[in-house]
């Protein structure tokens, strides 16, 4: 220390103080909803991943999520270009097909924007598209979209359409009975009592149900439908 000239120390201290002063007055970075770029092609992202597609997918997920971390969540969502958001989510799923984070974001985050039902519908259709690519793992998000369609969008035919997709494609031991049977109860709510009776009776007669509690519940439900009694509104 003694060997360092005083002028050098003074210049170092002055330069440091100037730098800290400039940095202190710099406005903090803020993610602007309008700044979301057009997603590049999946092939380009695969090259840019340098052999780590899953790592890049996770970084992109957190980066995309950063556009939402502002006070007043609904305002930034409304400003987002939803086709671009869906494009980014699609690229992320292309890099990491086993990851469920993007589909959750689509159904639970971007699909929940208030005051913009067209955006909620857009994201619900995106969830349906992705569900059909991997129904065994992505059924929870479509089930949520069906519930959202019924209760928030108040579009029962749309909810029935999603529930029908769950019935037709969601298979495997991990898919619970209520998800596969949702279409029956939604049809009952839609006033399609005869269709609901036929579907429920067919399900009970098929022998695919093994849980005694589930069989008992559905049998009681079928009895309530014959003749039709007012629904208790306990559709999931």
């Amino acid at each position: 220390m003694a060997a360092v000239p005083a002028a050098t120390l003074a210049a170092l201290a002055l330069a440091l103080a100037l730098h800290l002063g400039l940095q202190g007055h710099r406005p903090p970075p803020k993610a602007q909803a309008g700044d979301l770029p057009v997603p590049p092609a999946l092939a380009v992202l695969r090259v840019a991943a340098l052999g780590e597609p899953i790592g890049l997918a996770q970084i992109l997920t957190l980066w995309l999520q950063a556009f939402d971390n502002q006070p007043g969540v609904s305002i930034p969502f409304a400003e987002l270009d939803y086709p671009r958001v869906a494009g980014w989510l699609d690229r992320i799923l292309g890099l990491d097909p086993a990851g469920q984070y993007p589909v959750l974001m689509a159904s639970h985050v971007y699909g929940q924007v208030y005051g913009h039902p067209e955006k909620s519908r857009f994201m619900a259709e995106f969830v349906l598209e992705k569900f059909l690519e991997d129904p065994g793992r992505r059924w929870p998000w479509l089930a949520h979209s069906a519930i959202m369609a019924k209760h928030r969008l108040r579009d029962l035919p749309l909810a029935v359409r999603y529930a029908d997709a769950l019935r037709d494609h969601a298979r495997g031991p991990g898919v619970p009975g209520w998800a596969r049977q949702m279409h029956i109860f939604l049809r009952e709510d839609l006033g399609e009592y005869e269709a609901a009776r036929v579907l429920l009776g067919g399900l009970l007669a098929s022998g695919t149900l093994t849980d005694p509690s589930e069989i008992r519940f559905l049998t009681e439900r079928l009895e309530r439908l014959q003749p039709h009694r007012p629904s208790t509104g306990n559709t999931p």
């Binding site: 092939a43 052999g51 790592g55």
Partner: protein, 259 residues
């Protein structure tokens, strides 16, 4: 024969001792802790699949860090030795160039394996042992391959920037070659011109010359996908063959330059 083995062992031990004395273990340990902290921070940002995010980002970071550390250590060590005339002193002694390079490769290989083992340790806390073990082994083989490439480059170029640029470019190209080949062969890009066909042939030729690092050390193994143990023998075989190729090329260049 035993004296040749002894000479190789001495050169290898010099390389190992140098790594210890240049505080490389502390640097590697600090990097491992920093990467673990960064992955932990990323985990806190996630609203779902937090453990998956942590493991994925940590794995990607560890892999890049291991390659970077091994590459720079080998290059810096060899260049310092060359500038201090230690290389000339060693080669003036009763040791052949082949024995010298073999000792260096073994020493740096041990450093690469130890570096990858330390850097891979944090992942043991976030991934099951059945997935972590083959992943760590593959990382060790990948680091060994990079050490051999760095040794070849520093013998050939004798300049830090040039050698580092070549090694890192070689590594990046090897890891992205699979994606590049797919793009080059895409029907959408095929306009039937001779230029496109020549480009495809060139890409294929480059692919043949490079190791298939795309198959090494996959993050998907840590996340429960793929069959890492089944792929490990193929990866090990490729590593051995390519290290031998790089070692032979380095020997050829060292003998040719009569250094």
């Amino acid at each position: 024969m035993s004296s040749a083995v002894e000479r190789i062992r001495v050169v290898a031990s010099f390389a190992w001792i140098e790594a210890l004395r240049t505080r490389l273990p502390w640097i590697v340990l600090a990097m491992a802790l920093s990467l673990f902290g960064a992955a932990l921070f990323a985990r806190s940002l996630a609203i779902t699949e937090a453990a998956r995010i942590q493991a994925g980002l940590l794995a990607a970071g560890v892999r890049l860090a291991a390659v970077f550390v091994v590459c720079m250590h080998v290059l810096a060590s060899m260049l310092r030795e060359n500038q201090d005339k230690v290389t000339e002193l060693l080669l003036a002694a009763d040791i052949t160039r082949g024995q010298y390079l073999c000792g260096k490769l073994l020493g740096y290989g041990a450093v690469a394996l130890a570096t990858s083992a330390v850097l891979a340790l944090p992942l043991a806390a976030v991934a099951p042992a059945s997935a972590w073990c083959p992943w760590a082994l593959s990382l060790g083989l990948e680091s060994l391959l990079v050490a051999a490439a760095a040794l070849f480059c520093v013998i050939t170029f004798s300049q830090l920037m040039l050698a580092a640029a070549f090694v890192l470019s070689f590594y990046v190209l090897s890891r992205t070659m699979a994606a590049v080949v797919l793009i080059a062969g895409s029907a959408l890009l095929d306009d039937g011109s001779w230029a496109h066909r020549a480009a495809v042939v060139a890409v294929r030729a480059v692919e043949l010359a490079l190791p298939d690092l795309d198959r090494f050390t996959r993050t998907a193994w840590l996340l429960g996908e793929g069959a890492p143990w089944a792929e490990l023998p193929g990866i090990a075989a490729q590593s051995v063959v390519y290290v031998l190729l790089l070692f032979s090329a380095a020997c050829f260049d060292l003998y040719r330059r009569n250094q």
